[in-house]
Symmetry: C2
Subunit: 254 residues, 2 copies
């Protein structure tokens, strides 16, 4: 899908809790590991404040290194269980009840859903993330990949480049970026409407309407790739299409 959109894909390991083995040496994955997975946020902070800063800086650095070759950035994620921190971030920053920002992820039953809500409520109770401090929210209830995405968005915005934000986890990253720097919101374009309930609330905070609503359940930047086609079309309309005046279209007579 990226190939079809003319987009290059960079896969970044922000710190998965496993050994990448041969993949790590293959050069196919950019290693910006902050640590071997985050801590259990239901017991304490997911990461230290320094780690949160490092995750953000990794994303900013990736954006700035790619700047000369990139007109539009896009975000995506791959991770198991990361709708949980994403819902927690939305709850922390919106103040909405946890059950209203929590979805069924890749497919959990009602019992697992109740447990997920419980974990999120416990994480908020134990950590008390400060909604006025995006870094605090990221550190206490975020993830390394969410920090990296937030950093990429901040980096793109600092370069005045638009960034297509795709999916629920990326939107949680966008919320962190927005909390740290509200102006960055002006560079965000929402790609696909997620079926995750919290996505709608997150987009409302950001003031964004997603461009695509195709019942995808993919994430991984797929919606960003699709949306880039629209962006390119929009740019062409702005730059290549004659106005009525230029085309000498006759006006309606009053």
């Amino acid at each position: 899908m990226a190939r079809q959109a003319g987009a290059a894909v960079r896969v970044v390991d922000m710190g998965i809790a496993a050994d990448l083995g041969e993949l790590a040496a293959s050069g196919k994955i950019l290693s910006r590991r902050i640590g071997p997975g985050t801590q259990n946020m239901a017991r304490g902070p997911a990461m230290s404040r320094d780690q949160a800063v490092a995750a953000l800086e990794a994303g900013i650095d990736i954006a700035r290194r790619a700047a000369s070759a990139v007109d539009v950035f896009g975000t995506g994620d791959m991770g198991i269980g990361n709708t949980t921190p994403s819902s927690t971030i939305v709850a922390a920053l919106s103040g909405a009840p946890v059950a209203e920002v929590t979805g069924h992820g890749t497919g959990i039953d009602d019992e697992q859903f109740a447990r997920k809500v419980g974990v999120i409520e416990e994480s908020l109770r134990i950590n008390r993330p400060d909604a006025k401090d995006g870094l605090d929210v990221l550190a206490k209830v975020g993830g390394f990949e969410i920090g990296g995405i937030a950093g990429l968005i901040l980096g793109a915005a600092s370069l005045k480049r638009p960034v297509v934000v795709d999916g629920f986890i990326s939107t949680a990253g966008a919320l962190i970026a927005h909390a740290l720097c509200p102006t960055a919101g002006q560079y965000m374009i929402a790609a696909h409407r997620s079926v995750e309930k919290g996505h709608r609330i997150a987009l409302k905070i950001l003031g964004k309407q997603p461009l695509i609503d195709l019942d995808l359940r993919l994430g991984e930047g797929t919606g960003a790739a699709l949306a880039m086609n629209f962006l390119e079309a929009a740019v062409r309309v702005l730059t290549e299409v004659a106005t009525f005046d230029e085309a000498m279209v006759s006006k309606a007579h009053a």
Copy 2:
């Protein structure tokens, strides 16, 4: 937008009520004129049954001549006042009340809207189009361009090629095609959701969900061009993406 989608544009004059002058000689427009505009359908049939057949055949012929170079067809229209016959076709084929399938076109006020509804009701009363006979509906309350679009869709379907149907007028053409040959519906893909009220009812008859909902008010095949990006992405997903088995993704353990 077509260029961005890698699509070629063919503009066909199905019989506008004006002299094209130099444009006609320029070769930029394919002339398949059925006549110099249709008749006033509020006074009698818009065209003869023979003209309706000729309009359909022109569209079929265009599809078949383009077949060797085209994987996916798209439709669009340009015309003044052609939401009126389109709404009339939807009313005739759906049985829905005229006011429910009539919109505000390119922007008419409430008085003009009431007049539009009146014209459509009068056209239905005078012509009594037979909902079981798509040709009768096209001849009595259609337009040459709607017949051409219906023909293009039938031609594409006969070639087993998908056709992206964009906008309200094209969807009226698709309804005619569907009335003549329900199987043709299987080759139709709905592009952009029109703001015209009748579009929803027309899509319901066809059993289609549009791929795009961007509040465009363009028609002219623009949504078809946008949707072709999605089609290409979908084909790439089907042909280039590894399955979990092929990629040896580990399964969840029960």
